[in-house]
């Protein structure tokens, strides 16, 4: 059977490679970075380093999930902690109440989170810019208050605890290795998915909707479907991260996991790394998470919170002077790499 030429070219163009980070291509830098992550994960020898690495990879995966909505579709969400928490709570409640394995719960959680994302975007279908951002923030707060007060379901402010009985079926492990492998796989999968979206027909539809909604509608793209599907996908993937978080920490504290701080963190990792590129969130997380963990360790004796003062200042400087983030800066410094990220694209339009 012969494939329809025009269509197959678009649908199965396949990933291409480039030196510097570039939209729609896996760059040499990405491969080196991911390989280094794997090597680092295999060669760690201390509990502390392992913990930092697990957090880094998990946060990189979550930032990549956020980036699908925030970067590719331009739907900046400050409520992603809600989707993260829906994933975490769903699998945990299924496990505690009915003994359903988190391996299954992770899928159910992702579905619930995805539905929540679709619902939120449908509700806010007409809103743009700051109005959309504030609505996502409000939705996150509604979820937080629900998690704190719906005692029969979420255990209220005391949170939920997963019994620390090692069992591969319940996704509870005695040592760090399986967790490290899980979150590394999560990050690599999210990266692969992001890189695939960038060069796919769907990705181009998202970029078109983001950059010029009327124009996209005029050439037959349904902007509403693009926005809803991107947010649903992003929310579902964040939900998967939520289950992994729950299974690693074995404790869900509603004041922490649904706090706006977590949502801001996903967004800021992407902003620093480079919005709307697959490399950006990975680079952002690999730099920010270990650095802030280490700074917290060093500075906690003298002044707790100082690491976040530095972090906040870095965010301001990076976003004002390198608006396309680290990956954009690399792409610009590297000849032959046409780094196109969200903001540099818009900058040219201005």
């Amino acid at each position: 059977m012969t494939a329809i030429p025009g269509r197959s070219r678009l649908a199965f163009k396949g990933l291409s490679f480039s030196k510097a980070p570039r939209r729609g291509a896996v760059s040499v830098i990405d491969i080196v970075v991911l390989a280094l992550c794997a090597i680092a994960a295999v060669s760690i020898n201390s509990q502390y380093a392992g913990e930092i690495m697990i957090r880094t990879f998990l946060w990189a995966g979550l930032a990549l999930a956020w980036n699908i909505a925030g970067g590719y579709a331009g739907l900046i969400s400050f409520g992603h902690a809600a989707f993260f928490a829906i994933g975490a709570y769903t699998s945990t409640i299924l496990l505690l109440a009915w003994g359903i394995s988190p391996w299954l719960g992770i899928i159910v959680g992702a579905l619930f989170a995805g539905c929540a994302g679709a619902l939120l975007t449908t509700i806010c279908a007409r809103l743009r810019g700051p109005f959309f951002i504030l609505s996502t923030l409000a939705a996150g707060e509604v979820t937080r208050i629900a998690a704190l007060n719906w005692r029969s379901l979420t255990g209220g402010p005391e949170g939920l605890e997963i019994p620390p009985v090692p069992s591969a079926l319940d996704m509870v492990f005695k040592n760090q290795w399986p967790y490290l492998a899980l979150v590394l796989a999560y990050m690599v999968l999210m990266f692969g998915l992001s890189a695939w979206i960038e060069q796919s027909r769907y990705g181009y539809f998202l970029f078109a909707t983001r950059d010029d909604e009327d124009g996209a509608a005029a050439i037959g793209i349904n902007p509403w479907a693009m926005r809803v599907s991107a947010m649903a996908l992003s929310a579902a993937l964040a939900g998967i991260g939520g289950t992994l978080y729950a299974q690693y920490f074995l404790y869900l504290d509603p004041t922490h996991i649904v706090s706006p701080d977590i949502s801001f963190e996903f967004a800021l990792i992407c902003a620093i790394g480079g919005l709307g590129t697959a490399s950006g969130p990975v680079l952002g997380a690999l730099i920010i998470v270990p650095l802030s963990e280490l700074l917290r360790g060093w500075l906690s004796q003298s002044a707790s919170g100082l690491h976040l003062v530095i972090y906040g200042t870095v965010v301001v400087v990076v976003i004002l002077y390198f608006p396309s983030g680290i990956s954009g800066a690399i792409a610009r410094a590297w000849p032959q790499g046409f780094g196109k990220s969200f903001i540099s694209n818009e900058e040219r339009a201005l």
Binding site: P130, V309, V316
Partner: protein
């Protein structure tokens, strides 16, 4: 019956105070078309400054305004020069993330310098309440409400009547046309941002007798301010007053009849409902929510 009247009256008064806290945000949004995500931390700074003035000089919080308002004005100027001005013509994302970074830095700087302890000032006149027939009202609440109403009214009058107010309204309507008419728009931006910040200073002085301050105090109040500003219609001052009173009454009623925690849920749900059915708010500019503002 008395209970309902009591709850309504104290809700309205609380709403007036919330309104003055939100007016700076809505003013800045109306003119510059940006949301200052560090607004809550401006309030935190104002409350700490008011607390410091009261604690170290012994004057009462309303006298402390003489120091706190100019301080916040200057702070607004500095933030405008360093962070807002380089970002104001760029896509709205830049200003969102830049002010977000500022908010994190300020919040944690407060944590480093002031620790997480709650700071409050001794009550005015040893906590007397006023009696109006069956009503009991805290003196600080009444004074705060009166100041809020006077300031809001004066500000509205200023915007309606004065030459500068006219320039502000022209800039709100059409930035480019205003510039062509010889209005110094960048100067107006600076002035508006600083004035919005000064209004937060005023709000801090009104609020310090009622609430204690701590490094993350801004987050609680800024979420309320966002609700109020969206409810009233972003950029509308009358709307902020109306929205503030709505939120105050909802909070006061739900705090009594339902649990206070669900009261918060109520106004976030109201917020989402407003976004769905009347995205421009009660008194906002038509179509504001649908266009991507700072495209």
């Amino acid at each position: 019956m008395d209970t309902i009247v009591q709850l309504l009256v104290s809700g309205v008064m609380l709403g007036g105070i919330y309104a003055v806290m939100s007016i700076g945000l809505t003013l800045i949004f109306g003119v510059l078309k940006i949301v200052n995500f560090a607004h809550g931390e401006f309030l935190m700074l104002a409350m700490y400054s008011a607390w410091a003035v009261v604690t170290f000089t012994g004057v009462n919080a309303y006298v402390a305004m003489i120091v706190v308002i100019p301080l916040l004005f200057v702070f607004g100027v500095v933030v405008y020069w360093l962070i807002v001005r380089p970002a104001v013509d760029k896509p709205h994302l830049i200003v969102v993330f830049a002010t977000m970074g500022l908010s994190i830095a300020m919040q944690n700087l407060a944590l480093v310098l002031m620790t997480a302890d709650l700071r409050d000032i001794p009550p005015l006149l040893s906590g007397t309440s006023l009696h109006f027939g069956p009503l009991y009202l805290r003196l600080e609440l009444v004074i705060g409400f009166l100041i809020s109403i006077i300031v809001t009214a004066a500000l509205m009058l200023f915007i309606k009547r004065s030459y500068l107010g006219k320039a502000i309204r022209a800039t709100v309507q059409d930035r480019d046309a205003a510039m062509l008419m010889g209005i110094n728009v960048p100067r107006l931006f600076l002035l508006t941002f600083a004035a919005g910040s000064a209004l937060v200073g005023l709000a801090g002085c009104i609020m310090i007798p009622l609430y204690s301050t701590f490094p993350t105090v801004g987050l609680n109040f800024v979420l309320i301010a966002y609700v109020i500003v969206v409810l009233g219609g972003m950029g509308s001052m009358e709307g902020a007053l109306l929205g503030g009173i709505c939120v105050g009454v909802v909070q006061s009623l739900s705090g009594y009849y339902v649990a206070p925690a669900y009261g918060q849920m109520f106004y976030f749900l109201i917020f989402l409902l407003v976004m769905v059915f009347r995205p421009n708010g009660l008194l906002g500019q038509r179509g504001a929510a649908m266009i991507g503002i700072n495209e």
